[in-house]
Amino acid sequence: MEQKTRIHAEDGKQELLITRDFALPLPLLFTAYTDPEIVAQWMGTRVLTLDNRVHGSWRFETTDPKGNKHGFNGVIHEFETNRKITRTFEMENTPFSPWIEYLEFESLDGDTSRLTMQPVYRSVEQRDRLLQLPFAQGIQMAHNRIQEIFSKPK
C-alpha cells in the first residue's frame, strides 16, 4: 500500500514535520479536526471537551485494552476555519512536558487537501523518546510472546 504520511525528524531538532495529502476537499478535512464525534472515531478516543476557539480547551480520554484510562488535554491558541489550529498537547501522568502543535490546512485542488503538523517539544531528548514509544511497545509485545513460549509446558 502506498505510504502517504511523511515524517521529517531532523537530527538534533526538537520538532517534527508531519505531512499528509488527503483525497478530501479542504472543508471536510478541517471538519475531521473540529467535530467531536468525528475526532472520536478516527483518533479512537473519547472527546470530553473540544472548544474550537482561541483560548478554548480540549480534553480526550482513551482506554487501553487493560482498562486503564489515559488523558490528554491542551488549550487552543489560534483557530482559523479551514486554515490553521495552534494548540498545546499534554499527555497526562507521563514524564513528557506539554508541547505545542501547529496544524496547517490547505487546499491542493477542489478534491484534495494537505495537512502539515509541526509539533515542537521541550527538548530533543523528549522528541526522540516520543518517536521511539511505538517501537518500544512493539518490542514489549514480542517480549510478552517470549514469556508465553517459555511458560508453555514442553
Binding site: 502517504k4 483525497a23 478516527w42 526522540d128 511505538p134 509485545m141 517480549h143 517470549i146 513460549i149
Partner: protein, 107 residues
C-alpha cells in the same frame, strides 16, 4: 536506505522479534533457537536467513557449529528509526479519510 527498510520489514514479524530477543541474551545455534518455537524448523531457518540478510543477526563459526548473535549496531539503527511512529499516523489518517468520504456521501 533500502537496507534499513528491509530491517524494518524483518522486525515487523512477531516470530522474528521473538528470535531477536532470544539471541539478545546469548549467541545461539539454529537448533537451540528453533527448540524455543513450535514453528517447523525450516520456517525458523527462513526467519534466521532474513534476519541475517538484513544484518540484524551475525553468524560466527565455533568448531563445527554456526552461532547467531545480535548485531547491536544495526539494532540500534532500527530502534532509532521512526517507522512504527509513522505507521500509527498513517493508520489514523487513513481512517480519517475513509470516515470523511462516507460523511461526504451522507450529506
Amino acid at each position: 536506505m533500502n537496507l534499513r527498510r528491509d530491517a524494518f520489514q524483518a522486525i515487523a514479524d512477531p516470530t522474528r522479534r521473538a528470535i531477536l530477543l532470544l539471541v539478545a541474551s546469548q549467541a545461539m545455534t539454529a537448533g537451540a533457537i528453533a527448540a524455543n518455537f513450535d514453528t517447523a524448523r525450516p520456517t525458523v531457518s527462513r526467519h534466521l536467513q532474513i534476519l541475517t540478510e538484513c544484518e540484524l543477526l551475525g553468524q560466527q563459526q565455533q568448531g563445527r557449529e554456526m552461532y547467531y548473535h545480535i548485531n547491536a549496531k544495526k539494532m540500534k539503527e532500527v530502534a532509532e528509526f521512526i517507522e512504527p511512529f509513522r505507521m500509527i499516523w498513517e493508520h489514523r489518517f487513513n481512517k480519517l479519510e475513509s470516515i470523511m468520504k462516507k460523511y461526504k456521501a451522507r450529506k
